[in-house]
Subunit: 377 residues, 2 copies
Amino acid sequence: MANHVVIMAGGVGSRFWPLSTPEFPKQFIDILGCGRTLIQLTVDRFKGICPETNFWVVTNHSYVDIVKEQIPGIPAEHILAEPAARNTAPCIAWACWSIRQEDADANVVVTPADAVVMNTTEFQRVISGALAFTQGHDNIVTIGIKPNRPETGYGYVKAMPLGTVPFGSFVKNEPNGTVPNGPIRGVEAFKEKPDLETAKKYLADGNYLWNAGIFVWNVKTITDSIRAYKPELAKQMDKMVPLGTVPFGSFVKNEPNGTVPNGIVQEIFPQCEKISIDYAVMEPAASDGKVFTYPADFGWSDLGNWQSLHEKLSKDAQNNAAVGNVHMYECKDCVVHTEGLKKVVLQGLEGYIVSEKNGQLLVCRRSEEQRIKEFSA
Amino acid sequence: MANHVVIMAGGVGSRFWPLSTPEFPKQFIDILGCGRTLIQLTVDRFKGICPETNFWVVTNHSYVDIVKEQIPGIPAEHILAEPAARNTAPCIAWACWSIRQEDADANVVVTPADAVVMNTTEFQRVISGALAFTQGHDNIVTIGIKPNRPETGYGYVKAMPLGTVPFGSFVKNEPNGTVPNGPIRGVEAFKEKPDLETAKKYLADGNYLWNAGIFVWNVKTITDSIRAYKPELAKQMDKMVPLGTVPFGSFVKNEPNGTVPNGIVQEIFPQCEKISIDYAVMEPAASDGKVFTYPADFGWSDLGNWQSLHEKLSKDAQNNAAVGNVHMYECKDCVVHTEGLKKVVLQGLEGYIVSEKNGQLLVCRRSEEQRIKEFSA
């Protein structure tokens, strides 16, 4: 089975204004100041998993040129240009229907474009393990990140206790009808973002993992699952990506911007229900005992806010993290991203975010970062 | 007698970095956000005193193009391009020697390019009064600003008590040999920037005025005074601006950048003693009883630092002064100048300077503004 990687890159990154704007959101920005944008880092960490010609990017139509520029190796027909944002279920459905059209036996990883992974070697080991599993199982694997703090900003996956319970139907491919040996475990349930007290319990329990939004499955499993749990969405995809009605290849190569004639996408995609893959497929599939998780620890962060960026960047002795030519005097606990400026001098700031891009400047207390969307309006 | 105005515009404005830079200093900036730069406001407030063709600007050679652009009405040969900064005495000497070459009977006002005057009507009344005085007297008039606070950042002029003492030699043109009636008073002495206690005494005394660096004299008086108190400088000027040895007009018109062949300026001007007009002429002339002052109150500020800019700008209810598209939340006592940015959001700042220009950003406590030169290095 050939591996394919689907990168979901449709977000607007409003919590990182002014660094991230609807015109040029965070996944396309070198937010870590390392010389590569987040989506480029995402592509980088999958090298070895599959060739660049097997990458797919689903993004808003207005970001297609940015994707082409930042990932020149990706086939143009693998950039799926959403005419409207419909959350992750229609996004993943479109990608997987398209992959299936090219390769009915494909093995697929779906990943957000904007997460950060510090240990890519371990990341590749985990993803390879998950892909080996979905090659032999018609089940879904979600990567579960081992929590190191009672984080209230992420959803959780509750794994079944280690090696205890045979999973019934979903283990039917295993020789002895039990859960496979090794690190992969059954998923009991998905949990919404908890309050702090609940998060502390999750951490103490040991069976709860962060839901990283990284999913592994073979293309038959996911398309069948969508058909089972969201039949309307499956019908819409059948119309939009009409499997087997046109010769593979020839059909898509003539279209400038995707795998099906644009008109059909324009018509159907915006009608799809706006729903996440978690609600649409993961939760009901977990209830049916069809979801596994691979507990992992590869320095993952969703990099969803300035707090997490401050954590990921290297800090000076006063706990300041800065990207750009930044000179700080009597500053402490600041996070600064001003790469577009020639020179920045900050004095007497404690616990502030300072960010500039394209003529827009934000200086605000880190404690107020949840108001950034308001500030940017 | 025709009036001439000499604008001294050679400063680098280092205390306003990054707004002001050596490449483009504050006198050429719209620092008040009113649509006119400081030097343009200076020209504006002299309209009616003399025609634009009688303006002179002495500035660093690297600012000549900026001057031409900002004051298009000034004759090119009236822009005196200093090859090096030599403080105000050589600057004023060059201008006055040049004026004398054009018009030996000229009546002259010398002014810095970067001060601010709020009441231009009163300003014109005072300047006209001073010019009327120097038309009939071979004496020097310095404009003395009536202090409203014990300011330690300015030098002071000590005026003689009102109408009491005949000035000896210098009043010889007065019909009755006494000081003239009216507001103009003799100057007893110039005083350096005082400490706070001394400044309070000055304020209480009532005879001390701020030295605004605005001087009025006829061209014969100042050139004679320089010859008397700084004979070496006068000799250098005789060489550099050789009065009467070439036909007026024709001589200067062929030179691109000044009133004398550039080579001579390049050679002589940098050799001139680096000294202020206050030390070179004002203080010895005051000792000789040859300096008068016109006490004035026209909303003058030398706009030398962010503190004075904060005072001059209009403030919101939280005492914030801002130039630019600035949105403030929970901010107080700030002064912001970010005209080059499209949008600025500030949150939770109290008593800060925020300034951006040409990709250089400063955020610092107002209490630390004396360190800005250090910050800009």
